[in-house]
Symmetry: D2
Subunit: 334 residues, 4 copies
Amino acid sequence: MELKIGLVGTGAIGRTHIERINHKLHGARVVACSDVNAEFGKSVAETIGCPFYEDAELMIADPSIEAIIVTAADPYHERFVMAAIQAGKFVFVEKPLAPEAEACKRLVEAEIAGGKKLVQVGFMRRYDPGYRQIKKMIVDKTYGEPLLLHCAHRNASSGDGWTTPMSVENSMIHEIDVLRWLLGEDYVTAEVAFGKRTRNASGDLQDPQVMILTTKSGVRIDVESFVNCRYGYDIKCEVVCEEGTINLPEPANAMIRATASRITPICSDWSQRFVEAYNIEFQEWINACKAGRVDGPTAWDGYVGQVTAKAASKARDTGSVVHIEVEEIPEFYK
Amino acid sequence: MELKIGLVGTGAIGRTHIERINHKLHGARVVACSDVNAEFGKSVAETIGCPFYEDAELMIADPSIEAIIVTAADPYHERFVMAAIQAGKFVFVEKPLAPEAEACKRLVEAEIAGGKKLVQVGFMRRYDPGYRQIKKMIVDKTYGEPLLLHCAHRNASSGDGWTTPMSVENSMIHEIDVLRWLLGEDYVTAEVAFGKRTRNASGDLQDPQVMILTTKSGVRIDVESFVNCRYGYDIKCEVVCEEGTINLPEPANAMIRATASRITPICSDWSQRFVEAYNIEFQEWINACKAGRVDGPTAWDGYVGQVTAKAASKARDTGSVVHIEVEEIPEFYK
Amino acid sequence: MELKIGLVGTGAIGRTHIERINHKLHGARVVACSDVNAEFGKSVAETIGCPFYEDAELMIADPSIEAIIVTAADPYHERFVMAAIQAGKFVFVEKPLAPEAEACKRLVEAEIAGGKKLVQVGFMRRYDPGYRQIKKMIVDKTYGEPLLLHCAHRNASSGDGWTTPMSVENSMIHEIDVLRWLLGEDYVTAEVAFGKRTRNASGDLQDPQVMILTTKSGVRIDVESFVNCRYGYDIKCEVVCEEGTINLPEPANAMIRATASRITPICSDWSQRFVEAYNIEFQEWINACKAGRVDGPTAWDGYVGQVTAKAASKARDTGSVVHIEVEEIPEFYK
Amino acid sequence: MELKIGLVGTGAIGRTHIERINHKLHGARVVACSDVNAEFGKSVAETIGCPFYEDAELMIADPSIEAIIVTAADPYHERFVMAAIQAGKFVFVEKPLAPEAEACKRLVEAEIAGGKKLVQVGFMRRYDPGYRQIKKMIVDKTYGEPLLLHCAHRNASSGDGWTTPMSVENSMIHEIDVLRWLLGEDYVTAEVAFGKRTRNASGDLQDPQVMILTTKSGVRIDVESFVNCRYGYDIKCEVVCEEGTINLPEPANAMIRATASRITPICSDWSQRFVEAYNIEFQEWINACKAGRVDGPTAWDGYVGQVTAKAASKARDTGSVVHIEVEEIPEFYK
């Protein structure tokens, strides 16, 4: 039987997920949707041929709906995830779990109180086949222990609205999650430095930036964020281990010899770069829901991610190294 | 609604397709199966939880079955595809359409007589994202006209049963189809030469071989077949155009620096190398069936592929250049 | 003491060699020169500050000259090399040894008659570090026996004067020599085919072409010649061995990420691509001369190269496979 | 005429330079040598066939000697360079100019007092063709201004005697010089952090380390030093510019397909990796000496390098960011 999904937030990413679930993946269907913009939401509902709920919480509570996807604006995440927890339903929420660490904590506590893991956070990089190759080599200690990580996260252009804090909280948040998952350990310090400012940054934006994280066992990570790199969307991750280094694969693109060069195209945006990760993420989530469990990034992961991002932001604002204070992981999430 | 599929031939590849359709792809289900080995076939049917038909033709004729997949042994392809045509049902048949060109011709004629395109042949390379990138650049004439193609098709090991003709008819048949599709034109000559024989070839096997094809407009193609290359499963395709050359992408694998080398793993077999192509192939087939049409490789393509392979085999046996005689493509297939 | 060299033919390549010897390499000096164009040759002599000989043969015979470099036009090679042999002097002659195989044969016979190896032919690819890496792996049988070779020799543009035969005799002559040296065995057949003709070829020129050679032990070689490939000067050589394939290195150029691509520049011409090979070639020749021997490509190599090129030309003109008839290598050259 | 060179310090690197000058490069000859170990030095002198001086300063003062190479142990550099300055002779000294910044300063002052630039320091990376490609693109602003640099300097194994400070002072000193030259500006801060310690580091050695430098205009540089990386000798340099990034080329090595991988060998040590840089460095030095000038890294560069290294060492020892205090470059060195 198909998993019946209600989706809150029919913006661009929400519609992409509906398309993915209703026409590409196996075993689920978005059967209802809701949006704060009722007029627009209704037109989406009409296109898919499903009922529209003006009140998202009613949809979440509707007993015919089996699982929830939250792709609403970030500030609404807490409300809808909380409603799903209270309804005892599996809920997939796009990152961040909630913009503030405190809100994340409330969701963690509610989920623990409910006694069952229900929440999955949309950190899709964990599903990228390239990162999974790296994870396997780290777990297998193929080249010994990881010692250093060198990463870069580059976008062609940030647009005018992008601000200095967003480079950590909206962009490098992906590295904060995926590197912690890769290494299987928590961070202890965060630091943020600036490169020379590109002339292509608008307003006050500091671009590029470098975030430095260290882990409990002493691994040192540097992540370059460059949101106006001009040349494309590019993700790099090199794990320096004791007997070798491992590099995140480049996407498989045709190599051209032309105009006095060997040329391999680079992706233009994240949706193209991580399309396979998104597909795997949702298929695995559907499969897990139908099997009655969550096996992706948890509410706890979402919480730790926000705590780390906030520490990095504080480090940037104060020009200092900030210690990251995370409680011991609750037994519930182990 | 899900497309209801009956599958004939529950061997390894048949079961892979069942798994793919029933657990990964969207909008279809294998709801019945048949196999010449009734005992084994029944155990497969039991595993999926679907009825087993001792008589495949009864299954094909069953009105509750909407589409057919033929993964039986090659000599049975004609019979089951013919039954599907007569039942007016869409049928996906693994390559080859049939081992002999005459049998392919009979299927083409039956399909034309039936008045509707129903047959799709399993040439999955057309669905590989890398070949599709090349196809787009050829169609767009990004680097001008194609002039030469240099290809290689290498397997780590052929096993003992592999014979000299199989390198054309079971291995390079993939290049015969995909290069004709890439270039959008038919072949006019075929030729087969031998490299120096590897000591790793067993029995009388001539390995490696080089097949040379030329097309109507004069493009010259060389395809190396090396079924005991020892090092892995590797597919190369370089299209030399007037203003540049295009190379089939390498699969996206992590690059390692270790043991005094930069190392990128190579796939070990075809199922790993073309897993994405298979997924796209079946999803597109399901979508097309539900839309009431066939948009993949046709019975005509299957026929032309066998005619070309037979010409290449004759060229090899006679040590000469053989002209390929294919009738004009019927209006029906244009 | 510096080796005293007389150079015949002060055209572009001659002057490059003078510059190389007089300002970069060790242990030699061009101390005299000659040219059929006396006026121009004198101006060159003046620039270097050395005497000019109107009669090249007088210079060759001059006892103060220890070694000769012949960079005159091809039809004059025989005369000046013969003069050097008769004077008992080491002579380096740019390829071809002579345009006709018969002339090469006369030089071989004269050299044998003189009783001492004196002639070296300018096949500089043998000195390219990349080819030398391949040679070592073939000799060491690191990956077993070579079975197939796939090569390409591409120039951005041929200019208007280039004719169909020149692709073999002036361009692929380099592959004819270097591949025979790599494999350490002679050819038995030659064949030449055409790709689809590029619109960028002027006049009657057939471009691209493919030359096929087979060796005594059964290795099959294909060499693409594409003299108007438009994109740059590019040399490829893949040696398919029993347990692995070896690819000629790409020149070491910076990898750029820009304009939505990873980009590595390709050389624009042969002088840039093989500058290191030329330097090594001349340094080793100087060292060998001073040690009283020749250890590079011999007159016999020059002769075999021309015989092979003529066979390939005949194959092209007759559209057939031509057997290559070379006598056993004389004891003198072993 | 050949430049007559006297060399002090006939250890391994000294003998490599003698070999290079006397047998590969153009226009110079080592005509005398000296070494603190007289017995060994004499045997070297005998091998080359040149006089041995027990007293290096006598050799430096000998009017028949035109230029000096100092490859003695680091603590003796100051004495011999000073002697050469006093003799008014060109002197090439292997890096460091002297181990202490103060000693470097004394040499700078002596050279200025003498009124003529005579000293060149052996920072050979500036002569590596790869770095020169990068330099050209930076100077031409091909991709805009440099903003960030990510570098790595890895050795397979350090041996037991290697200590934590040596990673800055003996290894990353090369990056300190070459990056300052690439960017054409001085540093303002230095910082050193540790990665997780590899189990392959002996004694107290902290390995790997990361040195962070910032420049006057705000460029941020990170350099990884990993002296026990196990896998080979590997140098990386990525310059992140406003419109693209530039990567130091990998050495040109054959690409192998074998054992389920694409494999490109990595150099095993620095002498192999930078052999071309050393050749160019010495040829250009010889040419400049004969033209009566110095055009390579100056005593001032040697001084600034040591000041920077000392600041980085202090940063490491104090766990803080250290400001680098260098005087304005004297008019003499501009």
